[in-house]
């Protein structure tokens, strides 16, 4: 460790005046997001000391855990220079499915009347079902993108509309008439949104889905960094033609990235059903925008072929910290939009600057 710093210090001493200045300016600009966030956090904490209390930090983690799966899914699509506009609606559909499949069997109004009792096996089966449902829509996205060389923006815009239509029909099942789907079984809540750790004295209660999100991050890190599929994804994202020439199956990789994304939206929807306990047809509206924002803030670039899981996690946290901090500061909602927009713009400009400098 000391060797590393010594070497860095020697390198720095070897620089001339101009290069030294550039070293600091580049260093500042490349890490501007982190520096700004640090300033922002310190400022918030000074104004409102509760911001850094145990329960507040736990809250940020909990909110981030709920939006992580979606961002992890959409990140792959962005690495392929694409995007996925259908994400929010897939999330809404799978949340509705999970809620409908796991309603309290004693409830007076059920969407599906003949379903198994809420056992552990059935809860797991529903998880598989909704992830498969999400994966099917992802498969359709991937197929049209890869087969017809359509831009994902167009394909996923189309599937977003189609999925919304399916959602509206789903909410009409069994005389539900478009009302919210609710009365989610307690057994289901217990294993997803029920507390895994509870420290009453500190007012901290961590739900199970934080653990799941953590595991998911590890799995996705492995997929992105240690599997052939992950390496192929980055190869296709940087230069699809070059990847094809060097023997990567571009078609298969594209389809798989979108399918995996769909399955992750399914997972996110599953968590949402337990978390909220009441799902409406509007659930998931605009959710893909937050997920895309989190990815680009975390350095997953629309240039393609760059990004990492750690960055996505950072991006998700940045958005959630902003949400919580602006609320704790009591900032007017109108301004919150402007601040959030400015941060996304600044983060992406700084990100692109790195590539422009490199060229």
């Amino acid at each position: 460790m000391t060797g590393y710093f010594k070497r860095k210090a020697e390198e720095y001493r070897a620089l001339d005046q101009l290069d030294r200045r550039r070293y600091w300016v580049d260093g500042l600009l490349n890490n501007a997001l982190y520096i700004l966030m640090a300033v922002f956090i310190i400022f918030t904490a000074v104004v409102n000391k509760n911001f850094l209390s145990a329960s507040s930090i736990a809250n940020v983690v909990i909110l981030a855990a709920a939006s992580l799966p979606m961002a992890l899914g959409i990140g792959g699509c962005i690495v392929l220079t694409g995007t996925d506009l259908s994400g929010g609606r897939v999330f809404g559909l799978t949340a509705a499915m999970a809620a409908a499949f796991l309603q309290n069997r004693m409830a007076t109004k059920l969407i599906f009347e003949h379903l198994p009792n809420t056992t552990g096996a059935w809860i797991f089966a529903v998880l598989v079902i909704v992830m498969l449902a999400g994966a099917v829509i992802g498969l359709v996205n991937g197929f049209f993108v890869a087969k017809f060389s359509l831009h994902p923006f167009i394909v996923t815009l189309a599937t977003q509309l189609i999925t919304y239509g399916i959602i509206l029909m789903f909410f009409q099942i069994n005389g539900n008439g478009g009302g919210p789907i609710s009365n989610v079984a307690q057994e289901f809540k217990n294993v997803v949104s029920g507390p895994v750790i509870r420290i009453a004295s500190k007012n901290v209660s961590i739900p199970w889905y934080v653990i799941y999100a953590f595991l998911l991050v590890i799995v996705m890190w492995f997929v992105w960094n240690k599997t052939t599929f992950g390496k192929n994804m980055f190869a296709v994202g940087s230069n699809a033609e070059a990847a094809r020439v060097s023997g990567v199956n571009v078609f298969k990789t594209t389809v798989m990235v979108h399918t995996l994304a769909g399955a992750l939206y399914g997972f996110a929807g599953f968590v949402e059903a337990a978390r909220l306990g009441s799902i409406t047809a509007a659930t998931g509206l605009n959710n893909e925008c937050d997920a895309i924002a989190a990815c680009v803030i975390g350095g997953v670039s629309f240039v393609g072929g760059t990004g990492n899981i750690g960055g996505i996690v950072v991006g998700v946290f940045v958005l959630r910290i902003i949400f919580v901090a602006l609320n704790m500061l009591g900032i007017n909602p109108n301004l919150q939009f402007i601040i959030k927009g400015a941060i996304i713009l600044a983060a992406c400009s700084l990100d692109m600057r790195k590539y422009l400098v490199r060229k």
């Binding site: 409102n48 509760n50 911001f51 209390s53 329960s55 507040s56 736990a58 809250n59 909990i62 909110l63 409830a107 007076t108 109004k109 959602i167 509206l168 909410f171 009409q172 005389g175 008439g177 478009g178 009302g179 919210p180 609710s182 009365n183 809540k189 949104s193 507390p195 509870r198 009453a200 004295s201 500190k202 007012n203 209660s205 739900p207 949402e272 978390r275 909220l276 306990g277 009441s278 409406t280 047809a281 509007a282 659930t283 509206l285 605009n286 949400f323 919580v324 609320n327 704790m328 500061l329 009591g330 007017n332 909602p333 919150q336 939009f337």
Partner: protein, 370 residues
Amino acid sequence: MKKFLAIVLALAMVMSLGAVAFAAEEPDVSGLKVGVFWYAFSDAFLSTVRASLNEQLEEAGIDYDDFDANNTQATQLEQVQTAVTNGYNVLVVNLVTSGSADAAEQILQAAGDLPVIFFNRAVEGDGEEHTVLDAHENISFIGTDAPEAGHMQGQMIGEFLMENYDEVDLNGDGAISYAMFMGDAANVEAIYRTQFGVEDADAILTENGKPALVYFNESNTDKYQLDPNGAWSSAAAFDFMSTNLAEYSEANGNMIELVIANNDDMAIGAISALQAVGYNMGDGECTKIPVFGVDATQVAQDAIAADQMTGTVKQDNVGMAAAITGVLKGLAGESTMADAVSAVAESDEMFSVAEGFANKLFVAYAPFTA
């Protein structure tokens, strides 16, 4: 041949006589082609109105089609324009931009001479009363008195607090701290509910010698938290409430003691957040923070029955649909719009014609606590 013709003619005459006799009770609705324009199919309460209305229109044998503007006023205008060219002869419109006289005028311009029944979402904003409804012969509005739900919610809260004051005042400081969730900054119903839900409760409290409600977060001068998508969603309320609960708790002596939401969906979101930290489980053991909503959706009714929620204001979806169907039948019977409206108002005590209007029909709200 002559004989045959005579029989046919006689038969036709008998049948037409029968039809006339029948019409005295049930108007002939076969000439109606009704377009129903909804602001958004995804809205939970209006979906229940849609289900009731579809059922009632089918029962009445009225030819109708539903259109979804998907929360965009421009889409709705285009749908109306298309419907007019497509031969619809009565338009039933759930305006997207609630409370905008201009948006309503545009719809009316597109509709030309056709009768238009606006419903649920206001066509005249604050200070614009009579500008639309009095300016046209052939139109009407069926909905709720916008401030009524807010008043009713506020009174319900005030009365509830007077009965349970010490129980609700968890930290015993003599004042009740509350959180308020607003559904949409641009919706007059939301604005009134946000205002009167607190004001009317305060009025009852101060009358009885108690201090007014205190918003839990001093630094938030708006005194409400707003769904950023204007979607009145449970997810928004959940995120806000869990953030609030991270800072405000019994351990810190500043727990939020009362939750007021503009609608039931947001109330349910807040309850989910409360449940995540061990409140409002409905098991009779844990502390229950009183949560109030509006709409009385099935979900909210279940939550109240399960002792997780305290009260809501029932907006009657079946009654709303019945009023629309009633006016449509009146129009088919060739009565004028005003006559059709007053006939419906007389048919049931839950309906009333708004004061100073001939064509504005109110469907009453009702408090719902059990």
